[in-house]
């Protein structure tokens, strides 16, 4: 898996209220949530036209605060390809993987700046700052976590690969 794109840079302790404020939680529709992504740290961010494939880079403890899954959903639905941070709050990390949003822990995000370009190869475990021509090694996820992300999340992966036939019914569109 490869992610390549332009950097949007944020600071430390970006909390889930900044990522998607509670006043926008009346819906769980990803398209709506995407519009207000990072609204309280950078107003209008979710409405930009150039988010597709971009990479969010941040400091410590990204995604701290509540356990709302809406936060990683809004980032993913906005088209952002990956989040790189020094560290992630635990439940955010879990939720990000569960919904298929790639994330990378990298201690030296201070060396990455807004508008630079990154290339992240999840198979070889290499992150390259192509603007500065600097290379970093990143921890490669074990195979099954990579597969979860490739499948678009934990449930798509689990139902396709781990679920016995008797548990899984016929899937026909949006039956509820």
């Amino acid at each position: 898996m490869l992610r390549e794109g332009r950097v949007f840079k944020f600071g430390d302790h970006v909390n889930t209220d900044e990522i998607i404020p509670a006043r926008f939680l009346a819906t769980s529709d990803p398209v709506e949530l995407a519009k207000y992504c990072m609204e309280d740290s950078r107003p209008g961010f979710g409405q930009r036209e150039d988010l597709e494939g971009s990479i969010l880079v941040a400091g410590e403890n990204f995604g701290c605060g509540s356990s709302r899954e809406h936060a990683p959903i809004s980032i993913k639905a906005a088209g952002i390809g990956c989040v790189v941070a020094k560290s992630f709050a635990r439940i955010f990390l879990r939720n990000a993987i569960n919904i298929g949003l790639p994330i990378v822990e990298l201690a030296r995000t201070d060396e990455i700046e807004e508008d630079e370009f990154l290339k992240i190869d999840f198979d070889s475990g290499e992150l390259v700052n192509t603007t500065k021509e600097r290379k970093y090694l990143i921890n490669v996820y074990p195979d099954f976590l990579q597969q979860i992300i490739r499948h678009g999340g934990w449930l798509p992966f689990a139902t396709a690969n781990l679920t016995p036939a008797r548990v899984l019914g016929q899937r026909s569109g949006h039956e509820a």
Binding site: N98, I148, V167, E175, A176
Partner: protein
């Protein structure tokens, strides 16, 4: 000292046992869980996800536990609909561990009490205080709703083996001091994210002085420091607790040479009652300091998944016995389960509470999360034995909550200001 040791933390031991091989910190694992828990708020979300992805049968109904405890007995039509959804689903899928009104308790009191979780288990729950069962030496942690739906499909969840912080306990509690004071003190030391992504492991000679009920209180609040789990060793006391439930368990403790990210030593005998000021659980302050401020109290809540067990009610009753609440103070007692209610009745505690002027409730989360049964008005002050004192947690955004032990809460109810039992001339065991 570059030599790598062979020692394992409790966390590594439990994950190794579940993985069937030696695992190391930082590894990602896909494992069968022993129990997956959800409540009346989180179960409906997981059930809807399960259905959306075409779920027909639950993988192993016996491993699912659903407890209707937050807005029950149902406070309104919406909450009644939520519980009905869980009730119907449980019936349709043969989930016998659905705990409805009359049988239910607050989930984190109920599961250990009923022997639904045990030492060495791997447990996930769609509730952040699932970490409570660390008191039994189970690795149990809070997750999102997608995880729960995943267990319904596969019986499995994925994990990253966390680093651990070692908390070494020495000495013994002074009279009037309990597990609540220990955990409030620890959180004030390391902060609300001091244990993010790490497990907290309690060890040392002082552990034997911490009762099982106090251990549940301590483990319950590990999440208030961001902890993934709060683990106690499985010792003779744990074994006795499990034996009462017909469960035989192996003793277990971390190895002496296990590698920890941090070690904190706490002398239990040096602790005095601690109260966390609004609006963070890390705002711990010594009772002697707060007493000088003479903070007037409107409401006292004793109970919840943090302090709704027998030891807690006995301690509160010892303070309230033969006394009356201060003029203008309301006190609500929330027993953790039907079993706790019954035992409190047998021991005459309920009579003590009612004679003192308290309301004795059926088990429910109620006011703990600002749900029902004791919501605070504008400007009101509560002393509560619950676990969170965030802005508006128990009601109006301009109300405030002080977190305390059952003894401090009961003493404050009697005097109408925040104070410890010692100010009533009570020397408690």
């Amino acid at each position: 000292m570059n030599k790598k040791t062979d020692g394992q933390t409790m966390t590594e031991k439990i994950f190794s046992a579940k993985a069937g091989r030696r695992v190391t910190t930082g590894e990602y694992l896909l494992l069968d869980v022993d129990v997956a828990l959800a409540n009346d708020i989180t179960a409906p979300v997981a059930i809807k996800e399960f259905q959306k992805f075409g779920g027909r049968e639950v993988f192993d109904p016996d491993r699912m536990v659903f407890v209707a405890d937050h807005f029950t007995p149902n406070k309104d039509i919406q909450s009644a609909q939520q519980v009905k959804l869980v009730r119907d689903f449980s019936q349709a899928h043969g989930i016998k561990n659905f705990y409805d009104v009359g049988r239910m308790g607050i989930e984190h009191v109920l599961l250990p009490e009923q022997g639904l979780v045990k030492s060495g288990d791997l447990v996930v729950g769609a509730d952040s205080h699932t970490c409570t069962y660390g008191a039994l030496g189970a690795f149990s942690t809070g997750v999102g709703s997608t995880d729960l739906a995943g267990v319904m499909f596969t019986g499995k969840a994925w994990f990253k083996v966390p680093e651990a912080i070692r908390v070494e306990l020495f000495g013994n509690f002074a009279p009037g001091v309990s597990g609540k004071d220990l955990i409030l003190h620890l959180i004030s030391l390391i902060g609300v994210d001091g244990a993010n992504y790490r497990a907290i492991e309690f060890t040392g000679p002082g552990v034997a002085q911490v009762s099982m009920d106090s251990r549940f209180t301590v483990s319950n609040m590990a999440i208030e420091a961001g902890g993934k789990a709060g683990l106690f060793p499985v010792d003779q006391w744990t074994r006795a607790y499990e034996q009462e439930r017909g469960i035989e368990v192996e003793l277990m403790d971390a190895d002496a040479d296990a590698v920890y990210s941090q070690t904190i030593a706490i002398d239990l005998s040096g602790l005095e009652p601690v109260v966390a000021r609004p609006y963070l659980p890390s705002n711990g302050e010594k009772i002697s300091v707060l007493e000088k401020e003479e903070i007037a109290v409107d409401q006292v809540v004793i109970g919840s998944c943090t302090n709704g067990r027998m030891e807690d009610l006995r301690q509160a009753a010892a303070v309230l016995k033969g006394r009356k609440l201060a003029q203008g103070v309301r006190c609500i007692i929330l027993p953790g389960s039907q079993e706790v209610s019954l035992q409190a009745m047998r021991e005459g505690l309920v009579e003590i509470f009612i004679n003192a002027g308290c309301a004795f409730s059926t088990p429910t989360c109620g006011p703990c999360l600002g749900g029902h049964m004791g919501i605070l008005a504008d400007g009101e002050v509560a002393v509560s034995t619950t676990n969170r004192n965030f802005v508006g947690r128990m009601g109006h955004a301009e109300s405030s909550v002080y977190l305390a032990s059952p003894m401090v809460a009961a003493a404050s109810a009697v005097r109408g200001i925040i104070c410890g039992p010692a100010t009533l001339g009570i020397e408690q065991e």
